[in-house]
Structures are given as structure tokens and as C-alpha cells.
Symmetry: C2
């Protein structure tokens, strides 16, 4: 092809499938044409857009805050589950389950306003390297996926992130790093309290979970936030299966993809590492559910994005059309 | 001015304030410039974008469904709160409170999938006239507000609806009628169940409230869905005050507006009709909170939009700029 919109992808079946899908849904007058308003794509974040090993970034973020607290309240070092976090006792942390883990990590920011939290998260991201890879977490995003996000965007798609990670932590970098604006991030969240401080309204975070967005809760929150079934979805774990099946089983053209973490040299091969792997079921069932597997090892020419050269917007077959003009009549009911 | 972007507004202080505000925030290099990603506007729906008298559209929508049920289960006519709905006993219905009222109206659609509900809502909207005004509810939208939505849109704003009404009922017409896509609607919602029916994933509505979006819950849901404090907000009742104050009290240029329902001839004058009016506090406090009051009687040349001529997109001072390109570095922290 004249211009390769996905240069960090090797020429593989998954790449052809993606390019063919986008061509079909954007071909005006074609049998698979989808109008821009319905070109909704959803992406998991941890393990799908950036690295989630040895622990999710959420862990390191919550830990940093816990360490600050532990300086003031040394007693915290003896109390579970904080002890496990402070000692990096992964075994005990895993026993909390994903929701319990999120609860500890997220509620350490209670009392912060939205604005406080955003500043805090940006500062932390700018100053904290990955403990093993030694680079900022925001450089451990997958370059092939950033090309894909860009390719979808110039083809009139709206891409959303749907993550079990903290919604406001993801918002602190998603726009700069992925080009995904804050209102296109769906994630787990804590409750907040409406307060008036010095005549100014603020929303202060509370130490209580509002919503943990995983498994079936992903499609439920897609329905709540977007109100449309995505035509394209990308995940990497069992927790994404409900979202992938939700996207895959609507009418018309559909594409669901799953990353296979099989690249021990360039990232981490961890799909079958644990006795009960949180990735096995998705890999086993992908064929049955019509989900396309992307092998990191085989299909990606480059893994991480160090930012050079910047991911460029590929040429669009057609300009991203604006939202259809409002019309007076409701459409025909079929 | 050469081209009037708000022709259904009389030349009034509110109109000048709006036009001046939009000019300031879009003037590149000016002191009040706001980049497109941050040009978030939020609108209440009932009484702000369309008529909410004698009862909110939600009532008539729930009632129609209850009447279907009552044909099959005649006993329903004797049981409260259904009896009050079926007898249009407004006094008793008001005693339920807004949340209780929503609960009855919304849970009548339990069992429907998202797609069922959308079809059902579109059919109902297309076939049901307003009981007093004899026109479809979708023609009882305010033309000056549709011009305003269009004016904001061409100036790079993203306008969201934030309503206590059913999120999916609003989505069934917001795109066609207001040009507001489904993902820019925030509203009250019921819980859903993830089900696999014939190999197909569906989300079935339950007879249980997930969230009732009113008062302080409006800013809380703006934070959840949008993740940005709006710079522009428009409401009409006490229930909108927290949202208007939230928008008004952020840094930089801000505009919050409140409709005064004082036009008995063309709509309904109902702001002070009840002993404890749900509109009085907002009107009383508007001055203190820096909220601009829009008098329907004085400031609007036309009220309802019958669709002719169609609301046209006014010319933009600058083209709606796309989302800023992702950059490698996180921005400076201030």
C-alpha cells in the first residue's frame, strides 16, 4: 500500500484485518458503511495500551501515597492491607482481589479535590520511573496501539478507554499520551463530596469506592457513559471478555481483538505464568467468540513508544466527517 | 453585527453576554482564550431545552407503559404509587419527590434491552403529542436554545446534557433534535443485567435505580462522565444551582445562565406558582452567585421550534479546531 498507517505492526493477519475493517466501515455507499457517530471503539488500558507488569501502575501510584502517610503514621506499617503494600508483598496483595486492591490504592487520595488530584497525578507520573524498566510509565505505552488510535481517529472513530484503573489517574495522561480526551475515559472511581470552600464549589474525593469497572461492569459502564455498543474493542485479559463479546455480538461489522503477552524479551510473557491466570480464559475462548488474537512477539515490530519519531496521523481515506446535522424528524423505526 | 448567530433571541443583555463570552474564549492569543478541549458546556434538559409542563415528559412516558401493564394487571389501578400515576393525581405524585417519581417512571421498562428501549422510546416520541399543546414533545424544544447549541458547537464547544431525566430516553432524541450525541448525555439511570441470549450479549434493564442525577449529583456526574469543570452551564431550577455554581466558580472565564419561566402566553409561567417553588431559590440567589437570568418573555423572540426554517449553523469565527495533537511530554505543572 502507498501509505502504511500502522508502521510498527508487522505485516500480519491482525494488521490486515484491522485495515480491512476500517476500510469497509468508512466506505460511503458500501454494504458495511457505518456513519461516524456510530464508530465507537473501546480499549482496555493496563496491558492493552501500556505495560501492566510487574503490577499495575495503580499499585505504584497508591504505594507512593501510602509511603507518605506511613512517615506520619508509622503504625500503618503493621496494619493490613497497608503492610502488604508497603512491603511489596505481592502474594498478599493478590489475595485482596482486584477490587480490594483498587480500594486500597484509590482511597489513599481521599480529601483531594479533582484539581489537587490531577496536579498530584501529573507530578507523580513526571517524576516516577518504572521500577524494573527505569523509564517513565508514560513511555511504556505501546507504539503500535498509539498508531492504531491515531488511525481510528482520522477515520472518524471516537476511541474510549474502559479500564478498571482509576478514571482520574488515566485522565491525567490520556489526552497528551494517547490523544484520548478526558470525557472519553471510563474507569473505576471513588465517591466525592460537594463542598463550598471560600465561595468556590469543589468535589472532594472520599475514601469509598463508587464503582469498580471490570468484567461485566465494563459493558454496563459503556452503556452508561457512551450509550452505544462499540463496533471495535481491544483488550488483553479475561476481565475484558465481556466487553469484547459485547462489541462483537451487535449487528453489522464488528471487530474485537486481544493482545497475547508472549514477548519475554521486549515486554513480559505472563499469559500462563500463574496457576489460575487472569489471561487464560480469554485466550482459550477467543476462537469461539470470534476474537482476533494479536501476538506481541509475532505481530509487533516495535513494542514501547519512546516518542521518536512522534506517531503521525496517517492520511484518512475520507476526512473525519462531523456529526450528522440534526434533522427535524425522528428516523424511521425498523 | 453582520451575521446574527442567535436570531430567535431579542437584542438583550443575556444575548450580548453570551456572544461576548464566546468571542473571548475563542480569540486565539487573547487573555481569556480557552483551548477547544476545555470548552465544555452543560445544559439541563427539562425546562431548559424543552418544555417540562404540566409534568416532565418522563411522566407521560412512564404513564404510557403503566397503562399497558394495567390492561394486563387491573389490580395495578388500586395500588399506590401506580394508582396516582394512572389517575394523573399530580398532588400525590409530587409527594413521592423527584427521585421517587423517577423510580416509578423508569422502572416500568425493566426487562427491556438497550436496543428494545431505544426503539420503544423513539416510537413513543413519534406517536405521542403533548396533552395540552397537541404537538410532539420533540417540537416543544426551545428554538433559541437550539441556536445556542449550534453557536457553541461551531465555536469548538462540546455541549453535554445533564438531566434528572432518564439518560436513555434523552438519548433517543438528543442527537436528531439537539445535535448532541449519545455519549454527551448524562442522566438518571436504572441498573442493568449482563445476559447472553442466543450467543448475543445484551444488557437488560432492571427495576432498580442506579443513579438519580439531581442537585449536587449533577456536578458529581459531570466529574465522572466528563472529568472537566464546564466553563458554560445553563439551567432553570433550584436543582441546577449546584451545577451552575460548579461551572461558575472555576478559574478563568465562566458563564452560567438560568431561564426564568415567566411567559404565560407562549409557554407556562410557573416559577412562583407553588408555595415551595422548585425554581425560587435559584432566582433569588442568581445575583449572589453571578448567574445571568434569561427571561423567556423578554429575551426570546420565538419560544418553540417547529422546525421551519431549520436552525442553521452560524459561521464560526474560527473553524472548530481538532483536539490538540498528543505530545510526548506531560505539560508543565503549575
Amino acid at each position: 500500500m502507498a501509505h502504511d498507517p500502522l508502521p510498527s505492526w508487522n505485516d500480519c493477519a491482525a494488521k490486515s484485518t484491522i485495515i480491512d475493517f476500517v476500510a469497509r466501515v468508512t466506505r460511503a455507499g458500501g454494504p458495511d458503511y457505518v456513519r461516524p457517530a456510530e464508530r465507537i471503539a473501546t480499549f482496555d488500558n493496563d496491558g492493552t495500551l501500556w505495560c501492566e507488569q510487574p503490577m499495575q501502575v495503580q499499585f505504584f501510584f497508591g504505594l507512593a501515597r501510602l509511603e507518605q502517610f506511613a512517615m506520619q503514621v508509622p503504625d500503618l506499617r503493621q496494619r493490613q492491607p497497608f503492610k502488604a503494600f508497603l512491603e511489596h508483598d505481592i502474594r498478599t496483595i493478590r489475595k485482596l482481589g482486584k477490587a480490594g486492591f483498587f480500594e486500597v490504592a484509590a482511597t489513599t487520595h481521599a480529601g483531594m479535590t479533582e484539581e489537587d488530584f490531577d496536579r498530584h497525578a501529573r507530578n507523580w507520573l513526571a517524576s516516577t520511573p518504572h521500577p524494573q524498566l527505569g523509564r517513565p510509565f508514560t513511555e511504556l505505552t505501546y507504539r503500535p496501539q498509539k498508531e492504531l488510535l491515531s488511525f481510528l481517529r482520522v477515520n472518524g472513530f471516537k476511541a474510549f478507554i474502559v479500564s478498571s484503573g482509576d478514571i482520574d489517574l488515566i485522565r491525567a495522561f490520556a489526552e497528551e499520551i494517547y490523544g484520548v480526551p478526558r470525557e472519553q475515559v471510563i474507569g473505576s472511581s471513588v465517591k466525592s463530596r460537594f463542598e463550598v470552600r471560600d465561595e468556590r464549589v469543589v468535589l472532594a474525593k472520599l475514601a469509598a469506592i463508587h464503582n469498580f469497572v471490570d468484567q461485566e461492569v465494563k459493558p454496563q459502564n459503556i452503556a452508561l457513559h457512551i450509550g452505544r455498543r462499540p463496533i471495535f474493542a481491544f483488550g488483553n485479559s479475561d476481565a475484558d471478555l465481556p466487553m469484547l463479546r459485547y462489541a462483537r455480538t451487535g449487528p453489522g461489522p464488528r471487530l474485537a481483538l486481544l493482545i497475547h503477552h508472549d514477548d519475554a524479551d521486549r515486554e513480559f510473557a505472563y499469559d500462563r505464568r500463574f496457576k489460575v491466570s487472569p489471561l487464560s480464559k480469554a485466550l482459550d475462548k477467543a476462537g469461539d467468540y470470534g476474537i482476533t488474537i494479536v501476538s506481541m512477539k509475532r505481530d509487533w515490530r516495535i513494542v514501547f513508544d519512546d516518542g521518536f519519531p512522534p506517531v503521525e496521523a496517517p492520511l484518512a481515506p475520507e476526512a473525519g466527517a462531523p456529526l450528522d446535522k440534526p434533522t427535524r424528524r425522528l428516523p424511521e423505526i425498523h
